[in-house]
Symmetry: C2
Subunit: 229 residues, 2 copies
């Protein structure tokens, strides 16, 4: 039962070309942060970068950066630093975003529609290759460029689409039913926007995004009588 963002839901998969000794989830999140920064940086044509440059740019401690990389091998030259292009490429490869990843989206509501139209996804090698819904009133219509397909044709379609990643933007009530269908169709990881705990087999990974929870944690941080507008 892999669950909740911060829970230790790592798998034990091995990669021949890397050490991959149980990097913590927090390290992976930071790798994604480094990658985003390196992608921005690329335009400037900078050649090398040091761990303390990374610290300045991202706020992550230089030692932390080097430690995070160390889970996956050696990346830099002592006394010199890291080659920007190489580093970017290798981090992308570790995170498997070096090639385009097919993604399916389930739930063609407001949020689903917004995500389909979000340009940040294709810009980062995530391509939405299929949109599904269980509402027969929606099936057949187009959302942006995607025809909305019947959720019950998911397994069939995915033999062709080969998506391993699913984005789930259905109401909480239907979440578990849909998840079971996703798993059955060969989906390996799920980004869940429904504020519901969903159960999946051990070889499937879930990350939950919950707007209300984010706002609630923020709400806590409002100072008691901060009325000085």
């Amino acid at each position: 039962m892999h669950e909740l963002t911060r829970m230790p839901h790592t798998e034990g998969e091995k990669q021949d070309f890397m050490k991959d000794s149980k990097a913590p989830i927090a390290a992976l999140e930071r790798l994604a942060t480094y990658l985003r920064y390196l992608n921005e940086l690329n335009r400037d044509g900078l050649q090398t970068i040091s761990s303390s440059d990374i610290e300045k740019a991202t706020g992550v401690h230089a030692a932390q950066f080097r430690k995070d990389l160390s889970y996956f091998g050696e990346f830099g030259k002592p006394g010199v630093g890291y080659n920007v292009d190489e580093l970017r490429g290798r981090i992308a490869r570790i995170l498997k975003v070096d090639n385009e990843q097919p993604v399916i989206l389930i739930g063609a509501g407001n949020l689903g529609s917004a995500l389909i139209g979000y340009t940040g996804l294709p810009q980062n090698n995530f391509r939405i290759v299929g949109v599904f819904d269980n509402d027969h009133h929606k099936v057949g219509y187009k959302l942006w460029d995607n025809e909305i397909l019947d959720i019950d044709t998911l397994k069939e379609h995915n033999t062709r689409l080969c998506a391993k990643i699913a984005i789930l933007t259905v109401p909480s009530m239907s979440a578990q039913v849909v998840v079971d269908k996703l798993v059955d169709a060969g989906i390996k990881v799920i980004l869940n926007f429904a504020p519901a705990s969903i159960r999946v087999p051990d070889n499937v990974v879930v990350r939950n995004v919950c707007f209300v929870q984010e706002l609630t944690v923020l709400s806590y941080h409002i100072t008691p009588h901060a009325n000085g507008i």
Copy 2:
């Protein structure tokens, strides 16, 4: 410079009615989880609940649950458990979601529009009281029930609205400019959907939601040759 979801960006505020001894952010996230469960539970008219019941329902270790509560006082009766209503009320009060919280949203694009229409917000005491944009083509139009207002009238409007919470759904490029205006208008906490690092004063708290980062971490977890569709 309070930043990034997992960084220690807690303030040192004190509450007269509670201990408030530096609860970790992770504990606050779990409190929000408990609250969600307790809200669901309420309908069943259950009177008391034990920490091990919580463990069964949420997956959070019973000792962890008790520890999380202990940051804020005593909540249960030894040998008996916790009164559901009381527990719900007190957690809601700690997280300041016991009363309706006014929220403003900046950026009336696809995502902003989806969030405005999301029923989960009002259901959890977050009320969107103002929608702003810097695109003059959008200003004046209505989004759901909200007239889109000019971002430059934000400070003026917020003397009336008194929102402390802002949701930021503008493009990355404009994020920092808008954030400065938010801070100037008295906003204390920001839920940032732009994939950009934003700088705020020490008394303002930011949480970042980044879809691409979530997908990237998931992408990592795809097993190398998991082709068994």
